[in-house]
Assembly symmetry: C2
């Protein structure tokens, strides 16, 4: 901490003041009940409706600037809030208000002694730092997820969306103000320096959530000691087992690779058991190629695939994010599992098999957030999983893993209620702890 203090410049000191205000606002937020937090979200919804035109005007300024700066077309498209996009944002907020409150759940309750009751109760984490790229709708989504879960949030969006983000955050703050909730629960960081400052504030910021490119996430993971919830790479594999059904193998592989190739839960690697190399790979490859996919094959796989490219070792750890897949032949399920645990990113991996033993081995031993059997990796998604809202997908090994819903934004505290109880009254020759389960 001493290091980061000494290197903090004026900008990050400003960020520190903002984070201190966020921390204080988080204490108030934590005291609001479900109704009060939902009422604040209702006010935010109203203001977003009222200010639609002025927010879209700010958005147009960003779009015009992006045209002058000749930003790539997909980036410009993601920037644009006009048309249906704005209504989708409002609809998402209405859905969020209806979701169950993640705060206040009791998941452990024991009586330690007469009149001494212990309860573990879910509560907000505190202050979240969110760093995201381009899409200004992410600002609304994340700020409102934070309010719903009782957390304060510092938002840093992309430079291209600066005016849109500011307008949206100001509207959200106006909604909070109308509901009597401290506006500092949601604050906008404008500059890159402020974002850098944010990453050094490990005494004030409890969790960083990056949303954007692999490069963004990785650079954040490497420059902060604050816990980071998210994922850099999404290197997902589909493994075609010895006892794979051919039709399932084809449809799952094609869905996993082509249904939306640019996202983290799309497959990047196809592993094929050597015993089904000749029976299965040609048909799978043909279906992939018909969908426009390029196959990069190892030396055994390439013998079965016309028009394939030769795979290099680099391909096993590459997230192509487009219509390319690396294909490797393995000789045992153990080899498949070891390949995935070594080269994968712990995101989502699937086995295609009719053998219950192979399925169980794969699902037990593959060390990924999602381990699927006879289903496409593309199902790894908070909405599909039934969470209602998604904070992001995490490849962390602690706190929250896989698609993260509102639950990922809460932790718990232990409430112990007694009647003057002293530890000194317990022990050998004194009272014993009861540890009686209670209703939660």
């Amino acid at each position: 901490m001493s290091d980061s203090t000494s290197t903090r410049d004026e900008n990050s000191l400003t960020t520190e003041k903002m984070a201190e205000r966020a921390k204080k606002a988080s204490w108030t937020l934590a005291s609001l009940n479900t109704e009060a937090r939902n009422r604040a979200l209702e006010e935010v919804l109203t203001v977003l409706q009222e200010q639609k035109e002025s927010i879209l005007a700010s958005n147009r300024e960003d779009i015009e600037a992006s045209e002058r700066d000749e930003l790539a077309a997909p980036l410009r498209k993601r920037l644009d809030l006009s048309g249906d996009k704005y209504e989708v944002i409002l609809e998402g907020l209405r859905d969020l208000i209806q979701l169950p409150d993640p705060v206040g759940h009791v998941d452990y309750a024991v009586r330690l002694d007469d009149g001494l009751e212990l309860r573990r109760v879910s509560c907000p984490i505190g202050v979240l730092g969110i760093i995201f790229e381009s899409r200004p709708d992410a600002a609304v989504q994340i700020a409102t997820l934070s309010i719903k879960s009782g957390n304060a949030v510092l938002l840093k969006g992309g430079r291209e969306a600066a005016k849109s983000n500011l307008a949206l955050v100001n509207a959200i703050r106006e909604g909070l103000k109308r509901a009597g909730v401290p506006e500092d629960a949601v604050q906008n960081l404008a500059s890159r320096e402020e974002a850098q400052g944010l990453l050094s504030l490990d005494h004030l910021v409890d969790l960083i959530i990056p949303r954007g490119s692999n490069e963004l996430v990785q650079s954040i993971q490497e420059s902060t000691r604050i816990p980071v919830l998210g994922h850099a790479d999404g290197i997902c594999s589909v493994y075609i087992d010895q006892q794979a059904d051919l039709e399932k193998a084809i449809s799952i592989t094609v869905d996993a690779k082509t249904q939306y190739p640019a996202v983290c839960n799309a497959a990047e690697t196809l592993l094929v058991h050597s015993t089904v190399l000749e029976s299965h790979l040609p048909a799978i490859a043909k279906a992939l190629q018909e969908a426009g996919v390029t196959l990069r094959c190892d030396e055994r796989a390439i013998t079965q695939v016309d028009g394939a490219e030769t795979a290099t070792d680099e391909d096993w750890k590459t997230e192509f994010l487009d219509l390319t897949i690396a294909v490797k032949v393995i000789d045992s399920i153990q080899e498949a599992i070891e390949h995935i645990n070594t080269f994968g990113s712990g995101h989502t991996d699937a086995i295609v098999t009719e053998d219950p033993q192979a399925q169980e081995t794969f699902q037990a031993l593959v060390d990924s957030a999602g381990v699927f059997h006879n289903a496409s990796t593309r199902f790894a998604d908070g909405f599909r999983f039934g969470f209602g809202a998604e904070v992001g997908v995490s490849t962390c090994k602690t706190h929250a893993r896989g698609p993260v819903g509102l639950e990922g934004l809460v932790i718990y505290k232990y409430r112990l209620n007694g009647n003057g109880h002293r530890v000194d009254d317990f022990g050998p020759g004194k009272k014993a702890y009861l540890h009686e389960p209670m209703d939660k």
Copy 2:
């Protein structure tokens, strides 16, 4: 990650190889069922019984060296495994074997579609790095907690206990070997350089658990990007509310301060509401002084306490760990809460009051792992809480907070079982997700 790679020296490369072996062992451990892991612990118990004499001989070498090096008497005492201590270790291991398995619990189960079933199942985290000081019994406790929860572990103990730790780890490895479990699931790091290397291996080590002084924990937190489960300071407060019962105030404050002053859940700060300053503080102070406690009082408190010292601002953030307490008078419960949230360490804080409103406000707004009402802060402990075993106490805001039991050593994975299901079959005009709850 590039930074840490470039600074890795030869020692840490050795550590990296050990961590790679631990990672592979962790995959095997993760595949063992409850019985197999308990059988391994039974073998460990047998070997620890068989090798008792040689382990105690190694321990005597450490003790003799510590006498030559003139280590402080309390440190030497903590080093000593003779007498009852060794039996206590074995007894702890017998208890651990009896505890419920934290692995394999399903806490979310929904049917997404006919034949498409999603389950969230608890599983081991992977590879734990444990850095602890002096007490060699911690080596056994932590290694066996790791095996019970299916994790591999790299242990780095204090230099003073080097021979004891090595003998204990070798006995544990012999037990694993007899049970057919990879010995590399438990490995001993001998040198300080190996421990430093461990902290840079964020691609192989999933969680660091430090057990020792504040300085140790803080220096580890500052030198790794691996999640750290633990606490540096334990600055716990007792707040005497306007409506505090005097007898409860006295007994809770005395218990919290004096029952075991050297531990993290002992009280370091006493906050007194100004309306009960004259009615309550003199009697509380007298009871504390009779127990040998020195009171460091602010300017209002000192008027009520004979023989008190004057508090400085530094005292509000000091963990005395002995018979000293800082005393501050505040004018509202809000001021008490803000003091605790600003100067406390998020460990455990208590309110003494008969007012349900004040109790609720305090328990909702104090942002600590333990928020207690009319009970001593000393109850913050895994065994007292009924966890059976304690990994440590965490002041983290993510993953695990407060006293951490075996649950803190597991995460979860999503198992999705289908029948050839494709994402492309769902959506507007296609199939809808069912999201039907299933039996867990």
